[in-house]
């Protein structure tokens, strides 16, 4: 299987995979250990920390060259309708997150419920920098067809944290 997949992340994954087959029992115990640590991480973060997390992320954007953040720009960008590929030719953040950020949204394709964006309504929001960046990457690309700039992401967060 390695011929057509023998580069980059797959080569690495496959190497790890083979090593783990050799040490299957060791792997089982380490999986339990890693799983246990993963379970502990969210427990360490509390709702009160979403503000601190956002502060850290915003500071990072400013180091990356962003100027003062604007709630109004964030709000306008959040509502901006963008031409995208069918079947969602007109799309925006609200396509999935809905108009009221204190209420759950609904995924436009899968119809799955999306927990509210408001930190006041949803204590699980904005808990880690990794999650914030993961969703910015995915959703900016899906909605706008490109990654968002540090300035745009900072404007978004400045708007969203006040909801």
């Amino acid at each position: 299987m390695s011929k057509d997949l023998g580069n980059g992340i797959y080569a690495e994954a496959i190497m790890v995979h083979r090593a783990e087959i050799k040490a299957k029992f060791v792997n089982r115990y380490s999986a339990i250990l890693v799983g246990g640590l993963m379970m502990l991480l969210p427990a360490c973060a509390s709702a009160n920390e979403s503000g601190a997390t956002i502060d850290n992320v915003l500071a990072g954007y400013q180091s990356a060259g962003a100027v003062e953040f604007s709630r109004q720009r964030g709000e306008a960008l959040w509502a901006k309708q963008v031409v995208g590929a069918e079947p969602f030719s007109s799309r925006s953040c609200t396509s999935c997150h809905g108009a009221d950020l204190k209420k759950p949204g609904q995924h436009v394709q899968t119809k799955k419920t999306i927990a509210p964006m408001s930190a006041a309504a949803n204590s699980q929001r904005y808990q880690t920098e990794a999650d914030i960046e993961k969703w910015f990457l995915r959703n900016c690309k899906w909605t706008f067809g490109r990654e968002c700039s540090a300035q745009e992401k900072g404007d978004f967060l400045t708007y969203l944290r006040m909801q």
């Binding site: 299987m1 997949l5 992340i9 797959y10 690495e12 994954a13 496959i14 790890v16 995979h17 783990e20 087959i21 299957k24 792997n27 999986a31 890693v34 799983g35 993963m38 379970m39 995924h107 394709q109 899968t110 119809k111 799955k112 990794a130 993961k134 990457l137 995915r138 959703n139 690309k141 899906w142």
Partner: protein, 194 residues
């Protein structure tokens, strides 16, 4: 002493054979959809269903958008392909950082259908041809055969189901890896009987 050991061995062997025959014939009678297998088919001695997901990172990352499908439902090559195309994941962007993606892929490869010691994983593997890489669980021949009697109004036209992708809409114990026919309840329809 030797006699005792020998008779214990004989009894143990006898119990193993009895258990093997019992379990295999039991499965042959209870299996669904004419999927009967002969009592000598050792695959019936595998654990039933598929392995439930046991990885917290997998549950979090995959389960935030859809049911975290047990890796034992697709072979390694399907998972490798899927994890290389996350930027267009069935129309969605599901990109992940390299560290998380690699950790998930390792878990998926360790538990893929071609390695899982579970009966339904084996059946999925047997249904696949070697030269194609199927993208979706719901496109494996085994899946298609198992669902070919399900009318459209139960799934695609059913607002509480919508898609065969939503296993757990009808399979009550899907997250435990159980897909038995007596553990199905279709929303708005009720318990499923073949």
């Amino acid at each position: 002493m030797k006699i005792v050991t020998a008779s214990v061995s004989a009894i143990t062997l006898g119990m193993i054979i009895t258990a093997a025959v019992f379990f295999s014939t039991d499965k042959a009678w209870s299996d669904e959809d004419g999927d009967k297998s002969a009592f000598w088919d050792i695959s019936d001695l595998k654990r039933p269903g598929v392995a439930a997901v046991s990885n917290e990172l997998y549950l979090k990352e995959c389960g935030s958008c859809h049911m975290a499908y047990p890796p034992g439902l697709l072979p390694e090559k399907s998972w490798v392909k899927m994890m290389g195309e996350l930027e267009n994941h069935f129309g969605e962007n599901a990109e992940l950082g390299d560290a998380v993606r690699t950790e998930l892929l390792v878990y998926m490869l360790n538990n893929s259908a071609d390695k899982a010691d579970y009966r339904r994983s084996k059946k999925i593997m047997r249904s696949l041809s070697a030269d194609e890489t199927v993208d979706r669980i719901s496109l494996t021949p085994y899946f298609l055969r198992k669902h070919d009697e399900v009318p459209q109004r139960f799934v695609a036209d059913n607002p509480k189901v919508r898609s065969f992708s939503n296993c757990d809409a009808c399979h009550l114990n899907a997250v435990k890896g159980n897909f038995n026919e007596d553990e199905i309840s279709i929303p708005g329809v009720g318990y499923w009987h073949d």
